[in-house]
Symmetry: D2
Subunit: 341 residues, 4 copies
């Protein structure tokens, strides 16, 4: 295992995912933080925009140019979906490796991208080479990736519990219902009445039911890693909390199963996964927040022929920046957990 240091640039450094990424990278023993790019905040000290980093990271935010990444080994893109596809081609031409935390390179089918993201894909030639960065299921491809698509927060919370039981034939690939409850930081840092405190507080808001862009990402993972074309009903909800996702899944049982068998299925699937905790009991957000863990629990409900699955992650860590660092560790031959515990 190589032990050299790498230099990383970050686009979107002042957003919620970008900031979380900086927090992780600066503790990483093999990472040197390179240029930090921002759009409207370019030219300002990072600590002015993100006061929590005062005295921690004293850099100035820059306007992005490809030349400014010279000398970097890796570029993290923590921008809203739709922006990365304009930047990645040039970065790859410069032999930079790229981890995109947005959605532009997650779906291999550009038609699905167009349908769910409601814009045309402008870098379709790169889609075949993009690697879906789910370390627990795709490690060997990740190690060799030049362009890595970091999974969405919701898909991470849904795929990891479902995949082992789907692959084991325990649940049926149709009729699956996924209810996800997310903190608001998942929506990014932006000015809108809808995301203002008084509109979110003391309420909960289902949104984009059935049309959320993470739906095909979840389904694609089942085809990709289990060879099973599954259809899911995915209903995301916005909670009055800052961070964390709790996902409750109900999947039709395809055959009888015992808790012991489920225990075996999950522990086999994740025995060497450092950040998956299969638990007896029900996951809660507060147990995983500020960590890269995903907690997974289950409950057989044979009265209605279903298996209930539950998962909890921190949307900014395992659902974004933490998983990105985990992927970086694999890509550069570091220990998978380095900088993440």
């Amino acid at each position: 295992m190589e032990r050299r240091s790498i230099t990383c640039a970050v686009l979107g450094a002042a957003g919620y995912s970008g900031t979380e990424l900086l927090r992780l990278l600066r503790r990483h023993p093999h990472v040197r933080i390179g240029p930090l790019f921002a759009a409207s905040n370019a030219g300002k000290p990072l600590a002015e925009v993100v006061p929590s980093l005062r005295g921690v990271l004293d850099q100035t935010l820059e306007a992005y140019t490809p030349d400014a990444t010279a000398g970097c080994d890796l570029v993290f893109i923590a921008l809203p979906s739709g922006e990365a596809m304009a930047l990645v081609p040039e970065l790859l031409r410069r032999s930079m490796r790229v981890i995109d935390l947005g959605g532009d390179f997650r779906l291999s089918d550009p038609a699905l991208y167009e349908e769910y993201y409601r814009r045309a894909h402008t870098a379709t030639d790169l889609l075949p080479t993009a690697v879906f960065g789910l370390p627990e299921w795709n490690a060997s491809a990740i190690r060799k990736a030049s362009l890595l698509a970091n999974p969405g927060c919701y898909p991470t919370s849904a795929i990891l519990p479902l995949l082992p039981v789907l692959k084991a034939g325990v649940v049926s690939p149709t009729g699956i219902v996924i209810n996800s409850l997310s903190g608001v930081s998942g929506a990014g840092r932006s000015a809108s009445v809808d995301m203002s405190f008084a509109e979110i507080n003391e309420s909960v808001r289902p949104y984009k039911a059935g049309v959320h862009q993470h739906t095909p990402e979840i389904e694609q993972a089942f085809a990709m890693f289990a060879g099973i074309p599954a259809t899911v009903t995915f209903v995301p909800h916005l909670l009055p909390i800052t961070r964390g996702i709790l996902t409750t899944l109900a999947a039709p049982l395809a055959r009888p199963v015992t808790d012991d068998e489920l225990r075996t299925i999950f522990s086999t699937a994740y025995s060497s996964a450092p950040f998956v905790r299969v638990i007896e009991g029900i996951p809660e957000i507060r147990n995983v927040n500020h960590t890269n863990f995903i907690d997974i629990g289950w409950k057989r409900y044979e009265r209605n022929h279903q298996l209930l699955l539950f998962s909890a992650i921190d949307n900014l860590v395992k659902g974004a920046a933490g998983q990105a660092v985990q992927n970086m560790n694999l890509m550069f031959g570091f220990d998978e957990s380095e900088g993440l515990e």
Copy 2:
């Protein structure tokens, strides 16, 4: 329509449902508030235990005795489930009418009560006469009830959206998945680490998945009002908010349906229901809190052969005290909305 006044006693006046009930009753033009009973707080001024009622209701909490209800027309029981069944027989012997906000008289099958409430039922002879107080579906029985079982908060939020489509044959009675998200006031006012602020805040907690006592109450309603034996998967979650329930339901489509037909089904079912708002769009708790409304919305999701339904209520109003007053209005011949708008 009679227009006399009635006198009401309240058992459990200092709990969250009891307090909400007092707030509604004191504005009701045909109600005189009679004795207010409490257990550990008996002897204290109500305003000492519930400071929000200072200068609003200057009564003293009393220890309950059957004699103390003399002169009352109606007794509301807002106690934890399990307590009412010991008190109701004597109250009925005294020709008192009773509205029980707890769960003791909701299930007509005592075996189900024992299975889900984990205690024996001690007043099974009264179960046949108890009336399930869902005004939108059971008004004529409610009008004549002596013993009324006020529905649970979760069942109210689940039955009202599901019943019309189930009855119309639009959805299948098996494979239904109900995810409910509730504020903590539903758990009552009590001292426990689990319900302390620091354990609830910034998290969300699924609990009693598949074994919650409201499961058979929901299923019984489908048999009772649609003649359909349905099985549901019911997963309640505790949210970091004080009040309100948002319920997201996924039901397998039994046949093709259009939005127009759904619009007709719902508007027909609830055309004369003053507190049901069938909306285009998705309900949110903040739109119904502190009101007796239930907002109902839907989304067809034919890709996965499901109908998604959404509802929002205030668990302390439409889910408890408000619905109790609505039932009282029917029982005593007042206008159904009196004191509730």
Copy 3:
């Protein structure tokens, strides 16, 4: 006391204060709700912008023109400060009575307005006739007012506890420290990163310390009602709650005082004030929310020669819409509490 009905128009009907006002007005037995005006939302049904009012108030928001107020007796202006002064002159010319919930007519000295609101006052000729609408101290002027300046939320919470002890010579008029903690609805409904959920939640934010525009309003009240030129240090803080203000005041003791004397001072000052509750103990927001009450408590702290005062109000009710209705009641000869309990 006259008992006729009046017709009221509302400018800014879709804002937080405007919505709260509509909730109160529609329950008021002597009020007919007239035209509702909005700016960007003109032309939309009210219930589309404020979904909680679906089925409650089925009006359409209009663009404001002076002519549209024809037939109204009273116009409420619930707009951001700075907008009313452009509209009021024309309304008064039309013999309309006006209650302005903003800050334009609260300060009688236009130089103070310019200093604290950072804009010139364009209707200075009206300032001498504007009446400061603090019902507990200014009722006789309010009854005759054509142009009423509804007090600010913070000043209401600070003036009512301080004025009696200042007037009684118990505390000194210099060195007073006022810390106010407010829910975010006080800042109105608007799109900004600063007010987004993730920036407010799990934090608390002091702002405009010493320069907040409510400072001279508080000081002016002491001069106006006690004849005492006082100077206060006023530090507002933004809390992660939607509504409510808790104010903690520390005033230097000018002379020895007993709890009995304080009890007498407060009960004398507010014996006939229906919405002031002087309590033994410490006020909390949850006890007054959704009501027009102000709770006032105190604690002598002779070790440091200070009197501590505490108050709690709902910023949208006693701090805005409720107090406006209370003022309307006085202006039109209704019972002071009508529609408010």
Copy 4:
């Protein structure tokens, strides 16, 4: 500087401060975590009581006996105040070094302890040797301490901003007003109605105004480190957030002062303090949470002859566990920041 490792025991390992301490200690390069003690939870796996530590710290909680600390270099006591004084004498006899996170050894005058903690002190002979663990002002004594009293959370937030300006004669030692706003984790993990979610949420609660036990701790620090007998008015408030303290202080100006002089005073006082950030602007809790930083800001308010000071800390880190680790670092010759950044 020595570089050996030490072994630490923790009493009260399952409380909020204890858990935070474990999080910090396990990352510390020179610490081996020894036995973890709990009372009611003894015998249970730590991860069962604190699920967030599953897979992170797989130890079992033990019942405390002095013998069980054999081999330890340091014992952290994270118990409610009043418990440490019964345990410390025996620990010191065994030559153990002790850091007490509770209040038993903070006040050197046992009469003040008795007055404010409302119990007699049972280990008064140890008070003269106990060292007050405020690293920024007492480092040399801390290095040699056997028994270290870790400061209270509120005092940390009040003393650090006030001490430099008091010592410089900028503010007067009488008439100081301190308003502190704290998250609920400061009250510890316990079952009570008062601390339940529904009683804390959407409100704010002043408590123990003028009689809080941290009052004499603050005053003692001024005498101890500035030689100035000061009297303060201290009003703590409970906020609906989990962690963090925001303190707003108003101190009478003793003489004219400029911002430049204040800048010099603070930067001189804290130039070598790694966790004090003197900022232009106003501190907010969200900028320091989950860190050991204290942010300090100020605002001159000469209109009312006062200096306003503001500070923000994480009550569980700089206000408890983090400061304890900082003290441990000094006591054992490690780098002051080790394990804390």
